[in-house]
């Protein structure tokens, strides 16, 4: 079985001990990160997000 395609932990100074909620949080896979930047997929997500916001704005406060 292949190992999950996790992204590497980001580099940066770590003087402070990392909060446990962050240390144990799920790390997105490279595939997830690619999906978040894929213009075609994001165009669909854009339409979905804005339709949700429009619904909230037009009807959600009634």
């Amino acid at each position: 079985m292949n190992a999950p395609d996790h992204v590497a932990e980001p580099k940066g100074r770590t003087m402070l001990e990392q909060d446990p909620s962050i240390r144990h949080a799920p790390l997105p896979t490279r595939k997830t990160l690619r999906r978040r930047r894929n213009p075609l997929i994001q165009l669909y997500r854009f339409a979905l997000l804005n339709s949700r916001m429009a619904y909230i704005a037009l009807r959600g406060h009634k």
């Binding site: 992204v7 932990e9 980001p10 580099k11 940066g12 100074r13 770590t14 003087m15 402070l16 990392q18 909060d19 909620s21 962050i22 240390r23 144990h24 949080a25 799920p26 790390l27 997105p28 990160l33 999906r35 978040r36 930047r37 894929n38 213009p39 994001q42 165009l43 997500r45 854009f46 979905l48 997000l49 804005n50 949700r52 916001m53 429009a54 619904y55 909230i56 704005a57 037009l58 959600g60 406060h61 009634k62």
Partner: protein, 487 residues
């Protein structure tokens, strides 16, 4: 003829002014008057981008006077000092005492009469609550466009030091245990992190998010519950994942006691106190109401009848002190009418909330460390429009006209938290929630309708934030068909 005076021209006040003017008719007999100390309107959500040097000031501010001239709104660049809801010795008509900030009228004061008053004065940025906090102390802010410019300059200098090989600690968050607007601090933290990566200096930088939230993803609304990919998950887990992915550290449940040159002193919920050295710090201040005094007709001070101790105006909320378990959606105001004076309203940040939304928390020494409820953005605009509709109906049909309602416990909100700029490299967390104030009786479990409470991260969120920037500035400038754009 009726005269409506609106104090403040932020999201709620400006919305109320434009909507009211349209509802009453451009050439009607009625007057809509706006009093605000600022000459310019500021789209505050985009100050985040000004604060990282990715947007010039001119893109987030514009002068109010031409907009009000075009729409038939009387504009006074002045600060409200006192309200007289019962009038004075000369008249029983309510009045507001103002002091002009208009450079052309230095030191001038006036008493403006009103039939209806809307208090939309927004917050006083209470940097003084924490010694050493703010532009006059040792930290920067992005609360105003000018603050954001100073923050961008400070960040630029920090990046230059990093490029010279000098490690830097950047602390971003809130500067007091009772702050609100954690979402804005979150946005700024991730935009700064994005800029550090773009500048190729991320390796030498430590980015720390310092917050009064007990857990990540609280955002002052008690966190959110989402249904995602067959699981019920929380905004805490979802937000922590972003922190891990981007290598941003967090200090949770913190109250900043004081800031000295390069050192933040803070207390945490477990009662421990700490020092954190920094090279760059953007900490938001706590808010309180603007300093406005209220007087009765005889000139006796009645400020405590009209305003809460926090300086925010009391409205039709249930202010009875209650334990968290006894908090109810019905505690929240619906009409934003003052219980003392039916022709006085308060909207946006200016109204006094009945209690927080997040679970309250104190350290063993009694320091309150919990976010105050956010009342900005979409809810602010909806409140402004709702009160405008109530006043328009009463002017046209008499004071018996039923008030329009818009409780935050019956109102949804959309929130876009930017995490970096760029049309192909940008990112933002897009969240919707319904209602803003959880209603555990109506929606057992999470307190919210999971069909309308969603969160996602990606480029789509950034595009949405860019769209909202242009859309709301277009609307605020009252350009053609502006009124079709919802709040």
């Amino acid at each position: 003829m009726a005269r409506v005076v609106i104090l403040g021209a932020g999201v709620s006040g400006h919305t109320a002014a434009l909507r009211l003017r349209r509802m009453l008719g451009r050439r009607g007999d009625h007057e809509v008057v706006v009093v605000t100390p600022n000459a310019n309107w500021n789209w505050i959500p985009s100050n985040i981008w000004v604060g990282v040097g990715q947007m010039p000031r001119e893109k987030v501010v514009f002068p109010l006077a031409p907009v009000y001239e075009k729409t038939g709104v009387e504009f006074h660049q002045a600060r409200a000092m006192a309200i007289r809801p019962e009038g004075d010795g000369e008249s029983d008509q309510g009045a507001v005492d103002v002091e002009y900030t208009d450079p052309g009228r230095p030191g001038e004061t006036a008493r403006l009469r009103y039939d209806y008053l809307i208090n939309a004065t927004g917050p006083k940025l209470n940097f003084g609550a924490t010694p050493g906090l703010g532009p006059d102390g040792h930290t920067v802010s992005v609360c105003t466009a000018d603050h954001a410019i100073a923050a961008a300059e400070d960040l630029r200098a920090t990046i230059e030091r990093l490029k010279a090989g000098e490690p830097q600690t950047l602390v971003i968050g809130v500067g007091h245990g009772m702050c609100t607007c954690e979402g804005a601090a979150f946005e700024y933290a991730f935009n700064v992190e994005h800029q550090l990566r773009e500048a190729g200096v991320r390796d030498l930088a430590e980015v720390v998010y310092l917050t009064n939230e007990r857990e990540l993803g609280d955002f002052g609304v008690g966190g959110m519950t989402f249904e995602q990919q067959g699981f019920v998950t929380t905004s805490a887990l979802w937000t922590a994942s972003i922190f891990r992915e981007r290598g941003v550290n967090a200090i949770l449940g913190a109250h900043v006691q004081r800031v000295e040159e390069g050192v933040i002193h803070y207390e945490q919920l477990d009662g421990t106190t700490h020092e954190l050295a920094f090279d760059f710090a953007m900490l938001l201040p706590p808010f309180r109401g603007q300093e406005i005094t209220a007087y009765d007709r005889a000139g006796e001070e009645i400020t405590d009848r009209v305003f809460a101790p926090s300086g925010f105006m009391k409205v039709d909320a249930d202010y009875t002190p209650k334990d968290y378990e006894a908090w109810r959606a019905e505690d929240w105001p619906t009409t934003y009418e003052s219980p003392a004076y039916a022709n006085v309203f308060a909207v946006g940040i200016a109204f006094a909330p009945p209690h927080a939304i997040s679970r309250p928390a104190k350290s063993p020494s009694g320091t309150v460390i919990a976010p105050a409820p956010p009342r900005t953005g979409m809810p602010s605009g909806i409140m402004g429009r709702t009160v405008a509709a109530t006043i328009a109906d009463r002017i046209k049909s008499g004071d018996s006209a039923t008030a329009h309602t818009a409780s935050m416990a019956r109102m949804g909100a959309g929130c876009i938290a930017s995490a970096g700029t760029g049309m192909l490299s940008g990112s933002a967390a897009g969240m919707t929630m319904y209602p803003v104030v959880p209603d555990y009786q109506r929606f057992p479990g999470s307190g919210r309708d999971l069909r309308h409470t969603k969160g996602e991260l990606g480029l789509a969120g950034h595009w949405t934030k860019v769209l909202l920037h242009h859309l709301f500035i277009y609307k605020a400038k009252a350009r053609a068909m502006w009124w079709l754009i919802p709040e």
